[in-house]
């Protein structure tokens, strides 16, 4: 079993490296995801209107499997920070764990640095809003309501408590875009947002915001692996049917 895992990991790593090099030369064509198209529009609108974006990174710990969604949220934050750094009201990021809060500060600062306006960076734009899921939801609700926020972008690990954040946002007419790696959170976001992001779409946000070739390559690798799994599942089912006949 460990050998199979090692092979999957090695194949994925090699594919990611090769496709990243290939994506540097050929531009990517991405199919449209309504929620991400809306996110792109909201980014532009917030800079034009002089309003703030609130990026909620959820309560994902980097020491367990939920870290993937947290890292995907940080990759998206990096691009948003770069684009909105010169806005009158810079974007605010909130996190439900301390480590994620510290990383959000670092990520925001990196975005400002790349945009050439590091002096405008304020450490308080990366925040820890609470240290339990409900505590975090209570803290994040206030940011949307009190700080002239035009859009609330939630990408990370959220449970059903995310309904409190979306509800608070909707009361003050703040647009919401959300994705969670938690199934209960996804179901709530499906019902509570205009255009929900489902499943692995969470991991494509950075690529759709004009990410690096590695972000585009990771989407292609996911597609290749997904098709491989589909073929294995179908092959296994056919094999089992033939075996029983």
């Amino acid at each position: 079993m460990i050998i199979i895992e090692l092979i999957i990991l090695a194949v994925s790593a090699i594919l990611l490296l090769v496709i990243t090099l290939w994506k540097r030369k050929s531009p990517a064509k991405l199919h449209e995801i309504p929620a991400l198209a809306q996110l792109y529009r909201l980014l532009g609108l917030s800079v034009e209107d002089g309003t703030r974006l609130h990026i909620s990174l959820g309560s994902g710990s980097l020491l367990d499997a939920r870290g993937g969604s947290a890292l995907a949220g940080l990759a998206m934050l990096r691009h948003i920070a770069e684009r909105t750094s010169v806005s009158d009201k810079p974007s605010v990021a909130s996190a439900g764990t301390s480590v994620l809060g510290l990383l959000s500060q670092d990520t925001l600062q990196a975005g400002y640095r790349v945009a050439g306006v590091e002096e405008l960076y304020a450490p308080t734009t990366g925040r820890v809003a609470g240290l339990s899921p409900f505590g975090y939801a209570a803290g994040a609700m206030n940011i949307s309501q009190d700080e002239n926020v035009s859009a609330n972008i939630m990408v990370g690990n959220f449970g059903p408590e995310v309904a409190l954040i979306t509800d608070a946002s909707e009361r003050v007419n703040v647009a919401t875009v959300g994705a969670s790696d938690n199934l209960a959170g996804q179901a709530v976001l499906f019902a509570n947002t205009q255009d929900p992001l489902i499943g692995e779409e969470l991991f494509s946000t950075a690529a759709y915001l004009g990410g690096a070739p590695s972000h585009l390559a990771s989407l292609t690798v996911q597609d290749i692996l997904r098709w491989s799994i589909i073929l294995v599942l179908l092959g296994g089912a056919v094999f089992e049917i033939l075996r029983t006949i």
Partner: protein, 202 residues
């Protein structure tokens, strides 16, 4: 400095990952994970200071909701010093926990129930499409299928509800989880290669 942090992060990531495949590296993996846990504890303190600094800043600027921020800072500092003086196992500290923090979270859970019902009602106003209709009908159907009724189970409902949850919903859940796992895998690899550096990288 940025190169140095990237080298440390990538080396630590590769060593921890290798520990899952090569038994000889398990000791190193455990050591690094223990260090990570200690650093997470230190980060928790830094996170609390961040919370205090954000909210004192709000109070200082007289921003909207500043009163609540002041209340939060005062409560946080009071609880912190009480905890140091009395120790966490003291009855007063337990009363604080059982009398304020747990009921507050329970109240939020109560509000969440209302929010979810309200969200379901508004779903068709927000987005009228086939998937929304299926989502809503399935939710109502499953609620009826699992509800305890005075006259017992509605004929066929329970069986159908179990079929929907154990076949259709479970299949969908597995598909979504496989997608999430693939996304986590490629995101992790990007961090391992240093393509994404959320730790002070550019």
């Amino acid at each position: 400095m940025r190169v140095f942090t990237a080298v440390i992060a990538i080396a630590a990531g590769i060593l921890i990952l290798s520990g899952y495949f090569f038994p000889a590296l398990v000791g190193m993996q455990t050591l690094l994970l223990n260090w990570a846990i200690i650093l997470t504890g230190v980060a928790a303190l830094a996170g609390i200071f961040n919370l205090i600094s954000v909210h004192t800043d709000k109070v200082r600027r007289g921003e909207k909701g500043g009163v609540y921020s002041a209340l939060l800072v005062i409560s946080l500092i009071a609880t912190f010093f009480l905890g140091i003086i009395l120790r966490p196992e003291h009855s007063a500290m337990k009363s604080l926990m059982n009398g304020i923090i747990i009921p507050s979270e329970a109240a939020l859970l109560g509000i969440l129930t209302i929010s979810l019902i309200y969200a379901a009602i508004r779903l068709l106003r927000r987005r009228v499409d086939v998937m929304s209709v299926i989502f809503l009908l399935t939710a109502v159907f499953l609620l009826f299928g699992s509800a305890t009724l005075p006259f017992g189970e509605i004929p066929l409902f329970g069986t159908l509800a179990r079929w929907v949850t154990q076949v259709w919903a479970l299949g969908g859940v597995r598909g979504i989880l496989i997608g999430v796992a693939l996304g986590t895998l490629t995101t992790g690899l990007r961090v391992l290669f240093g393509a994404d550096r959320p730790y002070g990288g550019s």
